[in-house]
């Protein structure tokens, strides 16, 4: 994992996204355009598009991008992976790509190889905990695990009295309900009733379920920013072509003001999610700085999602509320992502507590250090 140990940080060069990030992300975007065009998928009568999309992504080594080659992955950097997820957000990609990236990352951090095929992670909410029993089995229940009913494997972070363990389990060994997000993507309660892992290992120092929530939060933030970029350009394009009262609606100041507000939310999400991804890509530990960056990204991106989804629907009017229009593929995922890996209220309370604990005199130095 070159990126997590990246200490040779050149101050000015670090400011610029590396070219290679773009190359991997551009490859991903081409695959999304060919196999996951939102308009085409929205018209599809079934989920037959999923197979070819997953196959193309796997051929390109993207689901296991964060797994080093010796553990069966393609060994891309964290920043490259985040760039892929930004592109996935721009296409509202609805296969467990982000979840497999995260699971592969989690397993690799503990030195565990990843299996082929899709994975997800548990827990996926800060309230859920899974414990490792003395007999080496896992117990507990994890709420809202994305794509648990679609993915053959689940990477798990579990606790016991002596520490933290990372494990890989077969999804079919767990109890999985039929839950869905508002966007219709699987989001399941996963019950672990003395589930025997396929393999497991002690987590390295600093990796615990809080770190997993932070990593998941940055992933969702990056996807959110991508989806927000897409709804901004869809909304601007629509406002320029839709005629009402004898002119494009984008010529009305009221509509322009709304679109400017939408752009502001998109800008904030892009900046704060990009900053958090950069922070995780550059730092080697989940320290105070990464906590500020990751929690802030999830909070601000979720707030942006709420505001922006509302504005975009307002711009589109009735057509945007139809099943046949592509807008809901973005807006409903934006709203669902708010709740995964800790919602904005959860992270805000955590962040507020930390800031209060450190006291007023430490606050500006913390903000200014980023």
């Amino acid at each position: 994992m070159a990126a997590t140990q990246n200490t040779d940080r050149e101050p000015t060069k670090a400011a610029i996204v590396r070219e290679s990030d773009h190359i991997v992300a551009e490859m991903a975007a081409r695959i999304f355009a060919d196999f996951a065009d939102p308009q085409t998928i929205n018209r599809a009568k079934d989920g037959a598009w999923r197979g070819p999309l997953w196959h193309a992504l796997s051929e390109a080594g993207l689901p296991l991008a964060w797994v080093p080659e010796q553990l069966g992955g393609s060994g891309a950097s964290l920043l490259e992976g985040f760039a892929v997820l930004g592109a996935a957000g721009r296409f509202a990609v609805a296969v467990p790509l982000a979840e497999t990236l995260l699971a592969g990352w989690l397993l690799a951090r503990a030195g565990l190889a990843s299996p082929d095929g899709a994975m997800t992670v548990a827990p996926a909410r800060p309230v859920s905990h899974i414990t490792l029993g003395r007999d080496g089995t896992l117990s507990g229940r994890a709420l809202g695990v994305p794509y648990a009913s679609d993915a053959p494997h689940i990477a798990v972070i579990a606790e016991d009295a002596t520490g933290i363990t990372v494990a890989l389990v077969l999804a079919k060994d767990c109890g999985i309900d039929k839950g869905q997000t508002p966007a219709g993507d699987a989001s399941n309660m996963v019950v672990f009733d003395r589930v025997k892992p396929l393999r497991h290992a002690r987590a390295p120092a600093g990796l615990d379920s809080a770190a997993l929530m932070l990593m998941g939060s940055v992933i969702r933030s990056v996807q959110t920013a991508g989806a927000l970029e897409a709804i901004l350009s869809l909304s601007v394009a629509y406002a320029n072509e839709r005629i009402a009262f004898e002119r494009p609606i984008g010529k009305f100041q009221a509509v322009q003001q709304n679109l400017a507000r939408l752009a502001g939310e998109v800008a904030a999400a892009l900046a704060v999610s990009g900053s958090a991804a950069d922070a995780i890509g550059q730092e080697s530990a989940f320290d105070e700085a990464v906590f500020l960056e990751a929690a802030s990204a999830k909070i601000r991106c979720a707030e942006a999602a709420t505001e922006a989804a509302g504005i975009a629907h307002q711009v589109f009017g009735a057509i945007g509320f139809t099943d046949e229009h592509v807008l809901h593929r973005y807006t409903l995922r934006l709203l669902a992502w708010r709740d995964e890996f800790g919602n904005e209220s959860y992270w805000a309370a955590e962040l507020g507590r930390r800031v209060a604990q450190q006291g007023a005199d430490e606050f500006w130095p913390l903000v200014a250090s980023r």
Binding site: A15, A271, A360, V367
Partner: protein, 386 residues
């Protein structure tokens, strides 16, 4: 024009952090010496000439400008650090801030050499205060409606009319003002305005104070009665001032002063909440922290992109739009989040005094330097809607 927005990941380089330590040490010493009280914004003399001179002596005014004009040729990211540390400390910088941020860069670009060598080093030494002369009674946000006239005379121009809402005019040494040199044309209403450098000591200038609702005196009306301005005080092209608003505007819109104006109430909120806030206060504080961090990362990003020679005009306007609304709402959020605190909290008097001041000041934050509505028009144009 497109709807795609760009925020490069910019981190402040190490030289910024040693500079930050120097600035903090300087400010701590000034506070210890009683120059200003960081907990009482709006008190004391906000135009402190002696303090500005000490800042100038440290090389922190005009610090990005060429050395031959008194600058230090440091980066815009270094200037960013100085600006944010002074702002957070509530240090009185009004005397030199406009010259440092806006007027100096315009002189650098458009003034003749002898004026540059005369004025810029004095700005850098903290000796000069500038005022912006744009709004008039009857033309505020709509700059191109300006009527105050500059008429060509032998060796110069004669100005008649008035400018209004001119902050600093009562202490300023120079104005950079926009005056009508020709009528607007039918096909271009922006035509006909020229930017001039005006020595505020020139005969015929009267400055009338306008008191604000905070009780402070910052605004003025400046009346011009046959004021003579020599030819070499024309900045840039006659009749074409509108062409000259370039990247300076991005600096003006995206700096840390566009979201830190009421920051002190956030620090006082943290003091009031103590180490173990209830969940409502913790959540409220956490959201403010996240929003502030996001704004600062946007703002640093724009500064870095400008330093790299890019022109992120829409991004800069977005920083000001979001930032000023955030700093405007901040005192109201702090009020809500402290609503259930025990009456005997230690800093109640300071908190209440600050909230009163910030609440009274807040309405102006989304008006000065381009209103929210104007900014959103600029953003809409950048998105390709106009």
């Amino acid at each position: 024009m497109s709807s795609s927005l760009q925020f490069d990941q910019v981190r402040l380089p190490p030289e910024c952090e040693s500079l930050r330590r120097d600035v903090r040490a300087f400010l701590a010493e000034e506070i210890a010496n009683g120059t200003f009280d960081p907990h009482r914004p709006g008190h004391g003399d906000s135009h402190d000439r002696a303090f500005s001179k000490r800042i100038g002596a440290r090389g922190w005014i005009g610090m990005t400008w060429p050395k031959k004009y008194g600058g230090r040729e440091r980066s815009f990211l270094e200037r960013y650090v100085v600006t944010e540390e002074f702002r957070v400390a509530n240090a009185p910088v009004r005397l030199h801030f406009v010259a440092d941020r806006q007027s100096g860069p315009i002189l650098l670009k458009y003034a003749p050499e002898h004026i540059k060598t005369d004025i810029l080093p004095r700005i850098c030494r903290g000796e000069l205060c500038f005022v912006i002369g744009m709004s008039e009674p009857g033309s505020g946000s709509d700059l191109f409606a300006a009527k105050t006239k500059a008429t060509k005379v032998d060796k110069g121009w004669r100005i008649n009319g008035s400018k209004i809402w001119t902050s600093n005019a009562h202490v300023a040494d120079y104005m950079l003002g926009l005056f009508r040199t020709s009528p607007a044309t039918k096909d271009d209403r922006r035509h006909g305005l020229t930017q001039f450098l005006v020595d505020m000591k020139t005969a015929g200038i009267t400055v009338n104070p306008i008191y604000q609702m905070t009780g402070q005196h910052d605004f003025n009306e400046v009346v011009f009665s046959d004021v003579f301005v020599p030819d070499d005080h024309v900045m840039g092209e006659v009749d074409s001032a509108w062409k000259q608003a370039t990247s300076e505007l991005a600096y003006e819109r995206s700096g840390p002063e566009r979201f830190l104006e009421t920051f002190y109430v956030m620090l006082e909120l943290i003091r009031a909440l103590g180490a173990e806030p209830d969940i409502r206060s913790a959540e409220g504080l956490g959201r403010l922290v996240a929003q502030l961090h996001a704004l600062r990362r946007m703002s640093v990003s724009v500064a870095g992109m400008l330093q790299a020679g890019k022109e992120p005009m829409v991004e800069a306007a977005l920083v000001k739009d979001l930032g000023t609304i955030w700093e405007q709402k901040l005192p109201h959020r702090v009020r809500e989040l402290t609503a259930f605190l025990a009456p005997e909290i230690g800093n109640r008097a300071t908190l209440e005094e600050q909230l009163t001041f910030a609440t009274t000041l807040a309405p102006k934050l989304t008006i000065q330097g381009g209103t929210t509505e104007i900014l959103r028009g600029i953003i809409a144009r950048g998105l390709g809607l106009r």
